[in-house]
Symmetry: C2
Subunit: 494 residues, 2 copies
């Protein structure tokens, strides 16, 4: 191998290790850390992310990339080495815009704000989070200010999570999608609502967790290279390809919460677990974008986990686990309950149709806050008004309103939500293509077999890590560009 | 403040954060990490310890220390700032001897060896650990080879954990102590043994853990700045003064295991939790030596936790928790059971008297291995022979023999054990002094009040962190040098 490539990989491995340690500091903060650890943990996160940033954006890496440019040009585009040099160059160029000092400051701020949000949310204490959000909004603007020639302040943040995307492009997709969704929501909601009372009984936490574990193990989440813990907001995180962890939360009075959030996070985690080991400890050893990541979590959560076939297989097992609650509930009633479309308050519990309205609202608010058209202090009221307009319901509290999602309280305001709806769209495209290639997949799902689907996803999506941009990956996997048609088709049919 | 001191503190804080993140990587490895994570975790630990070492031993820190030398001389010896400069200089000089590349290599080796030991120990599979131990022995010799002018290969390792100590000095102390202990052991063992069958019943794990938590909370371990988990080998670790965690292990058929190991580790943790917050994120924010650390764990475990007064208070509560097992066991029988002296196989379960014979054996073996007088492959047999000679018992397996302690399998061979016996000696000196100053302490213990003792320890030991060397600390706290007399006096009396 080229000695300079060897040297570059050594530097990149060090950056990967620093980022992995930072991810563990964050995971521990949300799972096991005692409250006293807060202040020091924020400092530790700041130090490690700063060092990772400094190391990655060092002059040495720039020189190596320059020196390796002819070598890269000599390699096939799709090779691991050319991809490594290409993506590292892209990320290097992007991250060099931002000073390490800012990264450290922002990380510490986000960690402290997160910890405040965890305390404030149960009491709907928006006032205590307001100054944190204001500082995070300022910091988000500062982040964007390091990039020149941008059309919208949100663009650098959108590009960081969904490379190649912009506020303009997402607005275009969302407008198109919204026009299709609104009449669909109206049509469904004007029908008599499904009865989901069977989900709203008492289900013991330990049994819920055991069932969720059983399900995601069957889907292909590898517990020898992962684990499941409880947190305030479910998430997936990875420390290496062979250590990808998920978290969930449990509502003992609602069966849907733990189960579907566990499947969702397992979808993210199977993506990371399925990356080609040859890419380990490089910038390629992670999902390629927020949207593609969400395509995997939403695919498993909805296209698989809310399908009739899935429940044909799993429902008898669930009934055995909760006989008092479910023995007399027929499969059809249960299936309708987990697919109930309603004017919901909470994004992560929303059905497949209205979910995107939640996302679009957050996306619009992000842009408005960045544009100074919506002040942080007015966010709760704006939330109520928009929920009433879009969904016909008003949240009873900020905990179920503007404070429900962790994102803005622990990261940038901008670029945080578009990936979810992009993921819904892409996920359906991927699933449709997989079923087209292997028509047995729906029948296999009904028999509790997920190997063919999992294998198709690993071959076409997972193993590539971030070698390809989202448009490249969609083109390679489906033979065409991003399209909302399969998603609308799927929703109409269902 | 001096701007250069400010700059030095900034560098040292960064090193502290790297070391804290490495400690979290290690804690997670032993508590929660899935097996798949092993290889990557070893690399991550190697990277972080290397970076911490490189940062700490950088030329910049040397220049700053040189420049600050006149300032240090202008300050009172006991001031935080003079102590910071003095101890940083000592550690800088010591660590500069060792290349960062060695630290990374050794850390990765130790991590992989540890993970192998965890798998091999249940099956007493010494053969699989032998090549790891041989490499660790070579590495331990290599470590010492970086230091010049030493009397014994073990000295640099001993000095790293017990500053100022040497193999020669410890041999002198151990010889003196051994002469006192051997007749004492003989005398006790020739009496009819205490009956500890009351401890050897079935005690549910969850109840054992709940009781252990209750006890250490009462002693003063702060759970808002700590937590308790289960591991193969109990330990205490800290990520900051406000996040100091302990672990334990539970034997459902022996009550002594979880309880006394939890008290032991809480003793370590209270030391770290009690350090003056003004020392945070500096090299002073940790216990001053292995021996002083063990003095705290052994003091709480034995001088407090195996005292009659302690059980006068806690035994009725324990009986309430385990009525079937203990309701009819009188306090006196229980007290004798937890103080039973016997020819024990396992160090961490040994009584206060024979415990030191276990330590001395390990210390002698360490020196012999370093001197090439004992080969790794002969270690199990040497263990059997020495156990028979010293204790009159032979372990039935290597799991209860040469493989029982984690230390050599996850660290250096040399400097690993002397601290335990030094701790027994110092702990008694400290306790005697505290009781002399506050004669109410024994009565308070019998009433479940530990505040006076805890306060004395915090004032005289904890808060200083590593500002003072062990001899300085002993002199300040007790008014005299290290002495085995109080320890022998205590054992004879008991």
């Amino acid at each position: 191998m080229e000695p300079k490539l060897e040297q570059l990989k050594k530097y990149l491995a060090q950056v990967f290790d620093l980022n992995s340690a930072a991810a563990l500091l964050a995971w521990d903060q949300e799972t096991h850390m005692p409250p006293g650890g807060e202040a020091a943990r924020a400092q530790q996160l700041a130090t490690l992310t700063r060092l990772a940033h400094e190391n990655f954006t060092s002059d040495e890496i720039g020189y190596l990339l320059d020196d390796l440019e002819p070598y890269r040009e000599s390699l096939p585009y799709e090779s691991n080495e050319a991809s490594l040099l290409r993506i590292t160059r892209r990320e290097y160029t992007r991250k060099r815009q931002v000073p390490a000092e800012f990264i450290a400051r922002f990380t510490e701020l986000a960690s402290l704000s997160y910890q405040n949000w965890v305390r404030a949310r149960p009491d709907s204490d928006f006032a205590s989070t307001q100054p944190w959000l204001e500082r995070l909004l300022d910091s988000s603007r500062e982040y964007s200010s390091y990039f020149s020639g941008i059309d919208h302040l949100a663009d650098p943040m959108i590009d960081a999570s969904d490379p190649g995307m912009s506020a303009l492009e997402i607005r275009r997709i969302f407008t198109e999608l919204r026009e299709e969704l609104l009449p669909l929501v109206e049509a469904i909601i004007s029908q008599p609502p499904a009865d989901d009372s069977c989900l709203r009984q008492h289900f013991a936490e330990s049994e819920q967790l055991a069932f969720a574990q059983h399900v995601v193990r069957r889907l292909g989440y590898d517990f020898t290279r992962g684990r499941l813990d409880k947190t305030a907001h479910p998430f997936a995180t990875r420390f290496s390809i062979d250590d990808v962890r998920i978290t969930t939360r449990v509502d003992e009075n609602f069966l849907g919460q733990a189960l579907f959030s566990t499947i969702h996070e397992a979808g993210h985690a199977m993506y990371e677990q399925g990356i080609d080991p040859a890419l380990a400890r490089t910038p390629l050893a992670e999902g390629t974008s927020s949207g593609v990541h969400e395509s995997q979590s939403r695919l498993w959560e909805n296209l698989v986990g809310r399908s009739r076939g899935f429940w044909q297989y799993f429902y008898p097992q669930l009934q055995t686990r909760f006989p008092a609650q479910l023995a007399h509930v027929p499969l059809d009633i249960f299936y309708r309950a987990v697919n109930k479309v309603e004017r919901s308050l909470v994004r992560v519990e929303a059905d497949e149709v209205t979910y995107n309205l939640h996302v679009m609202m957050r996306f619009d608010f992000e842009l408005q806050m960045l544009e100074d058209k919506l002040a942080i202090r007015d966010l709760p009221e704006a939330w109520y008004a928009r929920m009433e307009k879009d969904m016909g319901v008003v949240p009873p509290s900020d905990a179920l309103g503007a404070m429900q999602d962790v994102h803005w309280f622990a990261g940038t305001i901008g670029g945080s939500f578009q990936g979810y709806t992009l993921g819904n769209v892409m996920g359906t495209q991927f699933f449709e293509t997989a079923v087209h290639a292997h028509t047995s997949i729906p029948d296999e799902i009904a028999q509790g077999e997920f190997g063919t689907l999992h294998h198709w996803l690993r071959e076409n999506i997972y193993r590539h890590g971030s070698k390809f941009t989202p448009p490249e990956l969609i083109q390679r996997a489906t033979g065409g560009p991003l399209s909302i048609a399969p998603y609308i088709r799927y929703l109409r049919k269902k």
